[in-house]
Amino acid sequence: MTGAAHAEPVADYGRVTREIADPVLSGGAGRGWWAFCLFFLALTGIMIASIVWLLYRGIGIWGINTSNIWGFAIANYVWWIGIGNAGTLISSMLLLTRQRWRTSISRFAEAMTLFAAAIAGLFPILHLGRPWLFYWLVPYPNTLGLTPQWRSPLVWDFFAIASYLLFSLMFWYVGALPDFATLRDRARARGTRILFGILAFGWRNSAWQWHVWKSYYGAMAALGVPLVISVHSVVGLDFAAGIAPGWAETIFPPYFVVGAMFSGFAMVVVLAAVFRHALKIPDLVTEEHFDVMGKVLLFGAWIMALSYATEWFYAWYSQEAAERYLVAFEFSGLYAPLYVTMLACNCLIPQLYWLPWARRTLPVTITIAVLINVGMWLERILIVAMTPARSHLPSQWSAYWPTIWDWLLFAGTLGFFGLLFTLFLRVIPAVSMHEVKADRRQEASA
C-alpha cells in the first residue's frame, strides 16, 4: 500500500482485488508475455524431443557409464525437488509462525513447488532404462504375484514424490479456492465465467465455509512441514543408504533438506522479482520482502558451509582411506574448479547479504540468488558425479561428463518450468487475495 492508503483507518480491500485480479481477467496479454511464452514453448519442444529420443535410443545417449550410473538425471531430480520444497516451507512454516510477509509470495511459491516437483518426478522415471515400466513401483495386484522391493530407495522416492505432489496440489488448490470465487464474480466474459465458476466449486464465502476452510488449511500447514522434511530426507537417503565414500553419511538427510530450502528460497527471490516486474505490484512484493529473504539466504549459506565442513571433518575423523581420498579429490582432482565454484556460490558470495544495501538493491539480490541456484545445481551434480568417479575400487574409477542430450533435456525442463509459470500468470491470481485482505484488516486495526 502507498503511504496515503496507510493513513486511512479502513483497509482498501477493493484495491487489492483490482490489482491482483484484473491482470488475470484483462483480455490482452502483451507482447512481452507472448515473447516469453514462445521462447519457453520452444524449449519445451526441445524437452519433448530429447525425451522421445531417449525412449527410442535408451539411456546410452547420456554421458553415464558403468560407474557413473546416475549422472544428470538424478542430479537434476535432486535440484528440482529442492526448488520444489521452498514453496511448502514458505506456505506452511511461515503460516504456522505467523510471518505476515509470506502472504504476498506464498501463492507463486506454492505454484513453484508444484511445477518443480512435477518436473523432478520425471527424471527418476526417465533414468529407469525402461521408463514405461515405472508403474512397477506401485504396489498393485498383478499376475506376477509381486510387490515392490520396500527396502529400495527408488521405491521410497516414488512414495515421497507422489505423496508430495498430490499433497501440494490439494494445499495449493484449497488455498486458491476463495480467489477463484473472486475471479468468478469479477469475470465478465462467458469463457472466464465458466472456467472460474468450475474452479471455484460454488464457494460462497460464507462464515461456515471459512470456518471449515481455516480448520483444513491450518491442519495442512502443520502436516506440510514434516512432509517436506521427510521428502527431501528420502532424497538424501537415496545416497546415504549405500556404503559409497562421500555418500554414506548420517548427515545426508538434514544436509539435503537445508540445501533444498536454500536453493528453493533463492528461486523464490528470482521469481518474486520477475512477478513484481511483470504484474507491476511493487506495493505487494516490497523491498521489505527481499530484505527478509536475503537474511534467510544468508542464514542458509552458513548452514551449507557448516554442512560441507562437517563432511570434511567426518572424512578426516573416520580414518577411512577412501573417504579421505575423496575429499582430496574434491579439492585437487578432475572436478576441483567446479567444486571451488560451488563453494564460492553457496558460501562466499551470499555473505554480501550482510549488507542491507545488497539485500534491498534488486539487481544485486537477484544476481546473488541466481548464483546460489547455480551453486546448488553444481553441488547436486558433483555429489552425483564424484563418488562413483572415485569410489572404493580403483578399477571402477571413471569420469562423468554430460553429453548434448543431458544438456538439452535439462535446458528443456527449465523451459517447461518457465512455460508453466507464464501460463500460471495469465490464469491464476499470482498473489493470494483473501490472505492479503485479511492482513490489511490486521494492519488497519493495529
Binding site: F171, D185, R204, A207
Partner: protein, 170 residues
C-alpha cells in the same frame, strides 16, 4: 423458495457489531459472507466446531497402518527375500512409505471432508440468484437473515456502517 434480507457492510467491525446487536434483539438464524476469513465470526454466529481434524487423524493413522501392514505382509509372509542377512521385517525402511501415505491420506480425507461439510461442489445456490451478492468475494460484508426472522427495514437501516439492504431468495 424462502426469501432473506441481505445487509451489506463496508467493513468487518460494523458487521460484527450488527451481529451482536441483532442477537440481543432475538434474531436467531443469521449467515455471514465475507471476502476473507474472519476468526471472530465463528463465536459471533455460534458456529459448531468443524470436526475435520479428527477425520484427518483417523484416516491418516488407518492408512499408515495399512501401508505398514502391506509392507510387512509382502516382505515377511508373502515373498520373503533374504537380502544380505537383513531381518525380513525391516521396519525402519518400511517407515518411509508408511509416513508418506499417512500424511497423504490425512490430506485427502480432509479435502473430501471440507467439500462435504461446505456442501461443495454446488454451482447453483440461491445466494447466486442476484448479482448484488458478487461483492462478497471483493470488498463487501454480507449478513443474511430470513425474512420471517428479520426486523423491519427501518430498524435495520439504523445499524451503523450499513451500506444497503435488499431482499433476495435464500
Amino acid at each position: 423458495m424462502s426469501r432473506a434480507r441481505y445487509l451489506v457492510f463496508s467493513d468487518v467491525d460494523p458487521l460484527l457489531a450488527a451481529i451482536a446487536t441483532l442477537r440481543t434483539e432475538g434474531v436467531g438464524e443469521m449467515e455471514a459472507h465475507t471476502p476473507f476469513h474472519v476468526p471472530e465470526l465463528a463465536a459471533a454466529l455460534g458456529l459448531p466446531s468443524p470436526r475435520l481434524r479428527p477425520v484427518m487423524l483417523t484416516a491418516g493413522l488407518l492408512v499408515a497402518l495399512a501401508t505398514f501392514g502391506l509392507q510387512y505382509w509382502s516382505a515377511v509372509i508373502d515373498y520373503p527375500i533374504n537380502s544380505g542377512g537383513r531381518p525380513l521385517n525391516s521396519w525402519p525402511a518400511f517407515g518411509l512409505a508408511t509416513f508418506e501415505m499417512g500424511v497423504l491420506a490425512a490430506a485427502f480425507s480432509g479435502f473430501v471432508t471440507l467439500l462435504i461439510s461446505c456442501g461443495l461442489p454446488r454451482l447453483h445456490h440461491p445466494f447466486f440468484a442476484t448479482a448484488r451478492t458478487e461483492a462478497a468475494s471483493d470488498d463487501r460484508f454480507y449478513l443474511v437473515i430470513p425474512v420471517v426472522d428479520a426486523p423491519d427495514r427501518l430498524r435495520l437501516s439504523e445499524l451503523p456502517g450499513l451500506v444497503e439492504v435488499f431482499e433476495a431468495p435464500a
